[in-house]
């Protein structure tokens, strides 16, 4: 089974995250991802970066990953709050 921890590791392996939280039940996952790489990127481009980090796993195993993608600056403006 895919666990939130394995999803988190998969994202971290391909993307330098300032902060990351993943919760989920093995079927559905919710991720809060804070990364400098998102600066100047659209929402679509940010999500594509995360999908690319997960690579083929996304296609095969993770049917439903919801995510919030923030830059460190946006995150601190949001109060650095957990999801």
């Amino acid at each position: 089974m895919v666990t939130p921890e394995s999803v988190q590791k998969g994202i971290e392996a391909g993307l330098d995250c300032a902060h990351i939280e993943v919760i989920g039940d093995g079927q559905h996952f919710q991720a809060l991802i804070v990364a400098e790489a998102f600066s100047g990127k659209s929402r679509v481009q940010r999500h594509q970066l995360v999908y690319a980090a997960l690579g083929e796993r996304m296609r095969e195993e993770i049917h439903a990953l919801s995510m919030r993608t923030l830059t460190p600056e946006e995150w601190s403006q949001a109060g650095g709050a957990a999801q």
């Binding site: 929402r43 679509v44 999500h47 996304m58 439903a64 990953l65 919801s66």
Partner: protein, 108 residues
């Protein structure tokens, strides 16, 4: 005609196209259902939908078309706008209503 060309024609023929699982009346996935609700809440009454569960080639091809691995996917004026999370966020900030307001009008 190959699948990518079929998709290109669909998104260029219809100003607003939603690729989804099921239909607006009978969505077969919670994320697709959410996007239909978001579109309605944004004031959109008419949009073209493609049920990917009825066409395996489109279901796979749409993931390559926008380099986006999940369904639902929304296109406005031929441009990929986003999936469920993005559309929900854009609705909350009002950006989605702006994008949809700029959708081409079909000739009467």
């Amino acid at each position: 005609m190959d699948t990518q060309e079929i998709i290109r024609q669909q998104v260029n023929t219809h100003p607003i196209v939603l690729y989804m699982k099921g239909t607006p009346q009978f969505p077969m996935c919670g994320f697709s259902a959410t996007v239909v609700q978001v579109l309605r809440a944004a004031g959109v009454e008419q949009f073209h939908t493609v049920n990917v569960l009825e066409d395996a080639a489109i279901r796979e091809g749409i993931k390559q078309f926008a380099n986006w691995p999940t369904i639902p996917q929304l296109y406005v004026n031929g441009e990929f706008i986003g999936g469920c999370d993005i559309l929900r966020e854009m609705f909350q900030t009002g950006e989605l209503q702006q994008v949809l307001g700029g959708a081409r009008k079909l000739p009467a």
